[in-house]
Amino acid sequence: MGHMQDLSRRAFIFGSAAMAGGIAFGSYCGAEAAAPAAGDNPLTAGLGPNSVTFNPWVEISPDKITLIAQHADIGQGVGSVQPIMIAEEMDLDPGQFEIRFAEPSPAYFNTGFADEFAPFVAADQSPAAEEARAKTLEWLRESGLQMTGGSSTIPDTYQKLRVAGAIARETLKAAAAKRSGVAMADLRTQSGHVILPNGSKIAYVALAAEASKIPPVLDAQPRDPSKWRMLGKPMMRLDIRSKVMGELKFGIDQKTEGMLYASVKLNPNKGQPLKSYDASKARSMPGVRNILEIKNGVAVIATNSWYAMKAVDAIACEWAPSVYPAEQADHWKVLESSFKPEFLGKEWRKIGDIDAGLKTGKLVEAEYRAPYVGHQPLEPLNGIGLVTDKGMEIWVGHQSPRFVQWVAATAIGLKPEQITFHNQWTGGSFGHRLEYENVRVLAEIANQMKGTPIKLVFSREEDFLQDIPRQIAIARHRGSVDKSKIVAADLQLASTTPLKGLLERSGTPSKDPDGQLAAGLWNVYYDIPNFRATSYEAQGLSPSTTWRSVGASTSGFFTESFINELIHAAGLDPMKARIAMCTVPHYRKVLETVAEMSDWKGPLGNGRGRGVAFVESFGTPTAEVVEVTATDRGIRIDKVWVAADVGKVVDPVNFESQVQGGVVWGLGHAINCELTYAKGAVQQTNYNHHEAMRIYQCPVIEVRGLENDPKVRGIGEPPVPPAAPALANAIFAATGKRIREMPFNKFIDFV
């Protein structure tokens, strides 16, 4: 997420956009009803008799305890670790509570974005930086930004969910004290019960009615981590068993009474309308019930998904042409010509005298490229929608519940509060489910089929064609080395803007420079006396959006490849030089740890090579070493070592899974993935054209989590950015060949 350079101005822009749009960030305009605010508890409205809710995360009825997972579960374990953070404090055991995903409400605003939005690098813990973060937090509270992203699952909820659980526990004890006449101090809790000194127990559910009549104990404090039963220890994710048993229902598995199935063909020239269509063939195909024209395409309504997909495939459409260049080569040309003052995003950081620095010693210049890439989680975009005279109900897995309301409402002329949203377990996202292609067309289709529930499933091909890709970028880096030291680094990139694009499509446009283009570019923690980091924002290209690790997924590759080139030019060891140059002590420790894990001793020889890369993204410093062998069948990745400092490892098994998955994601896409445009449409439409990593290429990945950072940090995205540069640096060490463009398989073969 972005860096807010001018806090008040940005808040103003967001605020006014919110007013103009009528929703978003919490400001419903109009005087008739009081707008919901972050302080309100949305659970109160739906509470049954003799039930209690202490805060937006805990609900207890006489039958059951329900814990709210605030974020969306996109495979990262939200549906497990968030309820467990509450359960830890409430002395609940797995199996004693149900889990529900949060409804749209400003109460679920994401505090975790405060650090990423404030205009200071993560390692800066100065009073000024902390003050800016505190102000950003207040802005987030006012705006009610409810979003899953930016590796914020743990940073957002680590404190608030444990406090929520502690309040519930202490209030239940207070209710038990009132009933039993025993002092609260003599009560304890265990396994969903309050335990009296005589050993008798009162179940929490039996205290719900009484607890609802007393004020909640708001000053309850979460326990010291040394007292944790579950957190911080290897624990079983709550969703593992039902996923293995095939019992968990993803959004695409849901069904409702009387439902019909829809499939769509949309203009592959993204964002452009349909001109005309011929559905004569499709009309008589099996199972077809209806053919609908929607804004940017056509939909077939049928008795099952496959009939709908086959029929929509048979419709001939004429499309309005793209507003971005039709051919990929022209996208690159636009980027090449974007390094000009009129396209300046921002000069993010300037240290020393860059011009003088570049004239000192040996000059090193290099250009790097990163292509558009798709998200393509294995569960394609889908959703169920039902429009009635009252409004719309929508069942869809999404990372931004309140924006779903706004997008669906805007598409069919309703008010956001008329949209009832039910979040779903999702088969991955990687940023895909922050966008709205399925939401908008589902609203349009369901509106034309009023009264009938419609299940929309995108074909994989349609999903590829409509996938708003990761940003495309070119970096032109210059630097100099003198007397075995890096004297200057002038890092410049031109890119499309992922976050700006997403905000605009969410109804909250921003005029500020895209902060994600600074990620991995300005937060460089090496002692380089002359340093400058500048972004240029290319205009008129494909819409782009957030892709696992966002800006750092491209800048991390550029920066850490270039640092490696400078280190090589200075005749230094890539690991030792990084450790020596690292200016933040506990970040240095991350590098030292990965050096120790990999037993780094310099060049390996015999066609083997190791590369290291270090990137801080979303506040989490992460170092990786990749080891490769150049075989006669191509490059083989043998092993990867990862060290990352998250302040506190809350869920160790899942932590390791997230790191391994991030490395696989980073390596796989760097090796063989790109999306290219021809005639305005993406050319890759299934996994055979955009494969990423399969098991045969997957190395052993050794992981260590460190806990030295003063803050609790996320891990979903930070392992991605160092993977590609560490691999490129390893290939250079093994072969002498420097690869400066992704995907790497355009330049070298892989086993």
Binding site: I74, G75, Q76, G77, M236, R237, D239, I240, R241, K243, V244, M245, G246, L248, K249, F250, I252, D253, K255, P286, N304, S305, W306, Y307, M309, Q376, P377, L378, E379, P380, G427, G428, F430, V457, S459, R460, E461, V653, N654, S657, Q658, Q660, G661, G662, V663, V664, W665, G668, N686, Y687, N688, E691, A692, M693, R694, I695, Y696, C698, V700, I701
Partner: protein
């Protein structure tokens, strides 16, 4: 009407014979463990067993499955104590979990043919099953663990 056996139960469906088994299972019979991922046999999320063999149900026309016996993950024998499912749980393989039912059906087929596969044999058989979350290290570990469990049972 086309007749087939799914998880030991005879079922009849009234669809065109070209319809893939995957969509018959999901939309006509309400059996959802077989997932739609790619529709072109590139991801393996739809893997089921037909007459004991792992196949991509997105490529199996229902007309050709007529009369055959289909087993989906829901219908595995000894499901609660199945060594492969147990290993998958113990190793906490899933992240999003969407591909895992297909991975498991493929792994069961692998272990039936090769009781103690090497990493190379795992690569050969499992590379058709895509996992976007990158659970491969745990899939590999779970297959080895399941092989050991099956050996111990014998």
């Amino acid at each position: 009407m086309i007749e087939l056996t799914v998880n030991g139960i005879k079922r009849q469906v009234d669809v065109v014979p070209e319809m893939p088994l995957l969509w018959v299972l999901r939309d006509e019979l309400g059996i959802t463990s077989a997932k739609y991922g790619c529709g072109v046999a590139q991801c393996g999320a739809c893997t089921v067993h037909i007459d004991g063999k792992a196949v991509r149900s997105c490529q199996s026309h229902i007309g050709e499955v007529a009369g055959k016996s289909v087993v989906t993950l829901e219908g595995l024998d000894n499901k609660d104590h199945h060594p492969v499912l147990q290993a998958w749980i113990e190793h906490q393989v899933p992240q999003c979990g969407y591909c895992q039912t297909g991975q498991i059906m493929q792994a069961i087929s692998l272990l039936t043919k090769i009781p103690k596969p090497t990493d190379e044999q795992i690569n050969q058989v499992m590379s058709g099953n895509l996992c976007r979350c990158g659970t491969y290290p745990r899939i590999r570990a779970a297959i080895h663990a399941a092989a050991a469990k099956k050996m111990a049972e014998k």
